[in-house]
């Protein structure tokens, strides 16, 4: 009930702020997004469908994006869970460095990331001759697209999990271990259920970023129509070929996926907030259980995990 007092104190400021915020959001987000859909459907839904389904290069681009993004997200999910567990449960030399390194993709321009991959995997690159003699293609082929996408989305899952895992703490996992659970059982029955909403949140964000990735993918794709063009690259290519409606049709699919992501994100965030409240409530309960471990070896472990 404290909010209305602020607004009623400065009605003019309040009005101006609301107008400015709505204006900016409208101008920068709603209008451009609406214009994408308007342009995409300018020639009717039949033309929209034709642009998407009857152009083999566009079809391939959609298929490629729907393959590359989940692959990159899958790699990041495995990596993210493992890394988040490692840094939230253990203290070891280089731990802060590892966390910092996980953030590098946030600060490095995607174009630089792409060029770095070319420098390593390109024909003249570090691993180029080896890959060539094995007959493997990484750059200018789909593995390069997966690598580039994985790089730019790397922090999203792990960054989402670290704070949640730290908040939950190791107690439940330790309890499971003390009751004789195997590592896999601890992971599937204790850790995973605890982090599932945060994990899903990270996956949704990573997937959205992966689908829309342009810069890094642009450098390593080679621009081969019907082979290495992902959806965002196809949008640009169609636009440059003066096929604006077709270009916007593909863009509308990307925008549609973004909207679905947004809804998923909101739903998941509500769950996350609810779980945080539950955790808080559980914490504030009077401690009725004696959590002092009986086994002395166990308490050493606890020290190692929580210090």
């Amino acid at each position: 009930m404290s909010k209305p007092t602020i607004t009623s104190a400065h009605p003019l400021t309040h009005g101006l702020l609301v107008a400015a915020a709505t204006g900016i959001v409208g101008l920068l987000i709603v209008v451009p997004l609406a214009s994408v859909f308007a342009e995409a459907f300018a020639e009717g839904p039949a033309a929209w469908w034709r642009a998407l389904a009857h152009d083999p290069d566009t079809r391939h681009a959609i298929w490629l994006s729907l393959t590359v993004a989940p692959l990159a997200v899958a790699i990041n999910t495995v990596f993210g869970v493992a890394t988040a567990w490692l840094v939230s449960r253990f203290r070891f030399p280089g731990r802060s460095l590892l966390i910092t390194l996980c953030d590098v993709p946030f600060s490095v321009s995607p174009v630089v990331a792409g060029l770095a991959l070319v420098l390593i995997f390109g024909r003249q690159g570090l691993l180029g001759p080896t890959l060539e003699s094995l007959g493997w293609k990484v750059i200018f082929s789909w593995p390069g697209l997966v690598l580039a996408t994985t790089f730019v989305t790397l922090p999203l899952v792990v960054r989402e999990l670290i704070p949640v895992m730290e908040a939950i703490g190791p107690e439940e996992e330790l309890a499971a271990v003390s009751l004789g659970a195997s590592g896999w059982q601890v992971f599937t029955r204790v850790t995973l259920p605890n982090i599932r909403w945060a994990l899903l949140h990270g996956i949704v964000l990573a997937n959205a970023r992966a689908m829309g990735e342009f810069g890094a993918v642009y450098v390593v794709s080679g621009h081969i129509a019907g082979a290495t063009d992902t959806m965002p690259l196809r949008v640009e290519k169609l636009f440059q070929e003066y096929r604006t409606p077709a270009s916007m049709a593909v863009a509308s699919v990307l925008a549609g996926l973004a909207l679905i992501t947004l809804v998923a994100k909101v739903v998941i965030e509500r769950r996350l907030e609810a779980e945080a409240r539950e955790l808080e409530a559980a914490r504030s309960l009077p401690d009725t259980l004696d959590t002092t471990p009986l086994d002395t070896g166990f308490s050493t472990a606890t020290k190692g995990l929580t210090s």
Partner: protein, 356 residues
């Protein structure tokens, strides 16, 4: 008990195994994608990759369809041609870095020569096809807004304070290089000295508000974003841009301009590895055939050879005096070093402007 929790022991094996299986699957996937090259000399179906520059998309769409039909009739082998288009310099770099091109059809001689220098082409690539492996040429022309409101007629008009010019970055774009060289050559052709030429070209880039990386991006800047009064570009690109504008733009032919000579080459190392040499050579040869020349002309590129076919029945090629790279800078090596290399003229005249 606690040890097995702290240090992943036997109980973690299923997880570790899952990770190993996933990594292995990814590795196998990498190798699986490139299993096409075989021992056979003539594969059942051939796929060629033509790595080209920006303004040839429409041309090669038609050439590819016609050639595929022609080749299958002649040799009984179906052939599909994949296309890659971007700024010419970037494309050259990509082929050097491993983009698997069977043929390169790039905007400028240095772009193909760079691929040759990397060892992918034999040094004599220029002598493989007629006219120094240049099957068609173009000229740099002006595209202006409808009715030519700023009265831009010739090169001298670009040196006016009320004119804003669109041309891509000569460092990355072949189109950009040619525009630069055309302006320089036009100043020389008008009787100016090297100093006059440099002053004229500096004035042009001072009036260039955006330097896009490729020809198509520059076209979009001029025609779709509506920036600038005049767009310097290749004749065929100008026609496309004007057709697309549905009356909003028109072409102006300056009195003289540079002859644009985009060379083509078979990428020897790649075609030998992929066993696609026969089709790749036939593909470039097709550009010199009557059918190929007619398609080239239709796209407003001037085919090489005597009596070039007109762009359309009843039309003629507009007359324009041309000079070549030799007139502007002796040869391409010289031009690259003098104008576009590190510490070259372009850096000297453009660098101070970027801060504005």
């Amino acid at each position: 008990m606690n040890r097995s929790f702290l240090t992943p022991g036997p109980s973690f094996q299923p997880l570790a195994q899952a990770v190993v299986v996933l990594l292995a699957a990814a590795t196998v996937g990498c190798s699986g994608s490139s299993s096409t090259p075989g021992a056979a000399n003539r594969p059942a179906a051939i796929e060629l990759l033509n790595v080209s520059y920006d303004p040839t998309r429409e041309l090669y769409r038609d050439i590819n369809a016609a050639f595929a039909k022609h080749y299958e009739q002649e040799h009984g082998t179906p052939v599909t041609i994949k296309q890659s288009h971007a700024a010419s310099g970037s494309q050259s770099r990509a082929v050097i870095d491993g983009l698997d091109a069977d043929v390169v059809t790039l905007a400028t001689w240095p772009d193909v020569e760079a691929v040759a220098k990397s060892g992918l082409l034999r040094p004599d690539w220029q002598n493989r096809y007629e006219n120094g492996s240049i099957p068609y040429h173009s000229v740099v022309v002006f595209v202006v807004r409808k009715g030519n409101p700023k009265q831009i007629r010739d090169w001298a008009d670009l040196d006016r304070d009320d004119i804003s010019i669109i041309t891509p970055n000569p460092k990355t774009s072949g189109n950009g290089k040619y525009s630069f060289l055309a302006a320089w050559g036009a100043a020389l052709a008008a009787g100016g000295s090297e100093d006059d030429a440099q002053k004229f070209v500096s004035a042009i880039y001072r009036r260039t508000p955006v330097l896009d990386t490729g020809a198509r991006a520059a076209t979009a800047t001029f025609s779709q974003k509506g920036i600038g009064d005049v767009h310097l570009t290749f004749e065929q690109e100008a026609h496309l841009e004007v057709d697309e504008s549905k009356g909003g733009l028109e072409i102006v032919y300056p009195k003289c301009s540079i002859r644009v000579d985009p060379p083509v080459a078979v990428v020897d190392q790649n075609v030998d590895r992929k066993a696609s040499r026969h089709a790749a050579e036939a593909y470039l040869g097709f550009l010199y055939s009557p059918e190929g020349r007619a398609i080239i002309a239709k796209h407003h590129l001037r085919p090489w050879g005597d009596t070039p076919p007109p762009p359309a029945a009843g039309e003629t090629w507009p007359a324009i005096e041309t000079f070549d790279i030799a007139f502007v800078a002796g040869d391409w090596n010289n031009a690259m070093k003098k104008f576009f290399g590190e510490g070259g003229v372009f850096e000297a005249i453009y660098q101070p402007h970027t801060g504005n």
